[in-house]
């Protein structure tokens, strides 16, 4: 498939008349690991909700894999994986039952095989037959990623994936994201405010401030652009007035 993985043009959204996202123009190429930075309430989750077709934007357009998120929802959904900030699946069902359900919803031809392969790929086969309700945050996150990739999407949306994880969990997640990008060629769109994670896994970053995209560039170019800064955190702080 040609063209960018994600393309937004004049994208905006309002809740009850209050705008939360203003005219976002953003293109993310295939194979990128994109870090979407912003303070709480900046509009990151709203953007992901639009791109995963959970909500309809009030203006502008957004394409995922070339398909319009408003008019071609089902095709968009067929190509994406989504991990929400709070992973909540069916607690009375086992991990395997949950994953099989989501694989079937995605139209996977051999759901059982896909689930077994995904669990093995993520090295969490031991969780397969345990009920999700008994899982710790870290275990839930691993099974959450499994549900997001069980149908082998080409674009993966992660909303604050490190929230609530301990350092070991964060390290494991970082490795998983890099593997998914390298092994399966997935484009990753990651909402976060964990700056340390962004610098370690992302190839490109975008900064959202009060619903406006104020910066977008590659990680390399960002470091070059702010050579005097000590860390991404310093750059992020300085970016308050940097235009996109």
């Amino acid at each position: 498939m040609d063209g960018p993985a994600i393309e937004m043009r004049g994208l905006g959204h309002s809740y009850n008349g209050s705008p939360v996202l203003h005219n976002i123009d953003l293109t993310i190429e295939r194979g990128e690991v994109f870090g979407f930075l912003g303070h709480n309430g900046a509009g990151k989750t709203t953007t992901v909700n639009i791109l995963t077709t959970l909500i309809t934007p009030t203006h502008g357009t957004a394409l995922v894999n070339g398909y319009d998120v408003i008019t071609d929802r089902r095709r968009v959904n067929a190509h994406i994986g989504y991990l929400p900030s709070e992973v909540r699946m069916y607690p009375h069902m086992t991990a395997r039952e949950n994953l099989t359900f989501f694989a079937e919803l995605s139209g996977v031809e051999s759901p059982n095989r896909a689930v077994a392969e995904t669990l093995e790929y993520l090295d969490c086969s031991e969780l397969a037959d345990l009920r999700v309700g008994s899982f710790s945050t870290g275990m839930r996150q691993r099974i959450g990623i499994a549900q997001a990739i069980v149908h082998r999407p080409s674009v993966l949306f992660l909303d604050e994936p490190t929230a609530g994880l301990d350092p070991a969990g964060i390290r494991q997640l970082r490795r998983t994201i890099l593997d998914l990008n390298a092994d399966l060629g997935m484009t990753v769109f990651m909402n976060t405010h964990q700056l340390s994670e962004v610098s370690k896994v992302c190839t490109t970053i975008g900064v959202l401030n009060h619903g406006e995209l104020i910066y977008k560039d590659s990680m390399e170019a960002t470091m070059r652009r702010f050579p005097d800064e000590m860390s991404l955190e310093d750059i992020y702080v300085r970016m308050g007035g940097v235009p996109a």
């Binding site: 909700n49 995963t52 077709t53 959970l54 909500i55 929802r73 089902r74 095709r75 959904n77 067929a78 994406i80 994986g81 989504y82 929400p84 900030s85 709070e86 909540r88 699946m89 069916y90 009375h92 069902m93 039952e97 359900f101 989501f102 079937e104 919803l105 995605s106 139209g107 009920r131 549900q147």
Partner: protein
């Protein structure tokens, strides 16, 4: 897609203690209805046998066995009360759980290629299958009770009536499953939506019949005709709404199906069933419409 959603719902539901307990209670009450029928039958028969002996000793002819004068399915008359009480309550719970359990996982479901129409139909199908299985269990228990009491397998006519009765009961309780779903879709607060659905159930089961039956509380609870007629003007007016009082319509129709109240005609039984079917159809449409407008992007239901 519809069947995938329905089977997930059934799997998730049967693992939940609250559902298992409510279902167990309903099945136990069905068995109790049979046991009560059997017990009253035994009492009548024993009293009759003693009376026959006494009359024979006095050289008098014995009257016919009173039990034989009663309709064969009369021992299930308690079911006509249990279904609007426990069956409808269980259905309400099933409908509520079907939607509110998806509060947290709904975002994941709709990030897939799932149409909202398919989702709603899957949920309704899941509830329908669950209630169908429960009604089948109740049918089997009732059949067993009849075999125990009569020492014989019921004839086809009785069996047919029993099947129609549980089919009608399924339709009736589906109305409450749909009410449970609708309430869960209208409110994000799990406890509030359950309470609201319970309020509707109370209204349909107890409050509305008080007005539409012309203040005949006995009739609103039991499938018998109260001899006291409508005497007050207010209740004469409210009684006009009787056709839409589905609890009363259910009792009238099921009483006729079980032949425990005088059967007017087959069309009269159907006319009692029609308001229930219309209510169910309207609620299916309402649930589909509510699912279409529901915001599944919000993370979870609050308690």
């Amino acid at each position: 897609m519809i069947d995938t959603i329905a089977s997930q719902q059934l799997l998730s539901m049967r693992r939940q203690r609250v559902f298992v307990v409510a279902m167990g209670l309903f099945v136990a009450m069905t068995a109790a209805a049979g046991a009560l029928g059997w017990s009253s039958h035994q009492t009548i028969v024993r009293v009759y046998e003693q009376a026959v002996k006494l009359l024979a000793a006095q050289g008098q002819p014995a009257p016919p066995n009173p039990f034989l004068l009663k309709p064969e399915l009369s021992l299930l008359s308690n079911m006509v009360v249990y279904i609007p009480l426990l069956g409808a309550l269980l259905a309400l719970l099933i409908g509520h759980m079907a939607i509110s359990d998806d509060g947290p996982a709904g975002r994941l479901v709709f990030s897939r290629s799932v149409s909202r129409g398919d989702y709603a139909l899957g949920k309704i199908l899941g509830a329908g299958i669950a209630l169908g299985l429960i009604m089948l269990t109740a049918l089997a228990i009732s059949l067993f009770s009849l075999v125990v009491v009569n020492h014989a397998v019921p004839g086809l006519a009785v069996l047919g009536r029993l099947v129609v009765f549980y089919g009608l009961s399924w339709l009736y309780v589906m109305v409450f499953a749909l009410i449970g779903m609708g309430a869960a879709l209208l409110s994000r607060r799990r406890s509030f939506s359950l309470l609201a659905a319970l309020g509707v159930w109370l209204g349909f089961t107890f409050a509305i019949p008080q007005f539409t039956s012309g203040l005949r509380p006995t009739e609103s609870l039991n499938p018998i005709i109260d001899p006291v007629g409508i005497s007050q003007r207010f209740f004469e007016v409210t009684a006009l709404a009787r056709p839409i009082s589905i609890a009363e319509q259910y009792k009238a129709a099921s009483g006729q199906v079980l032949a425990i109240v005088p059967v007017e005609s087959a069309s009269s039984t159907l006319s009692h069933t029609l308001p229930i079917a219309v209510a169910a159809a309207l609620l299916v449409a309402a649930v589909i419409a509510l699912v279409r407008r529901h915001d599944f992007s919000r993370s979870s239901y609050e308690d």
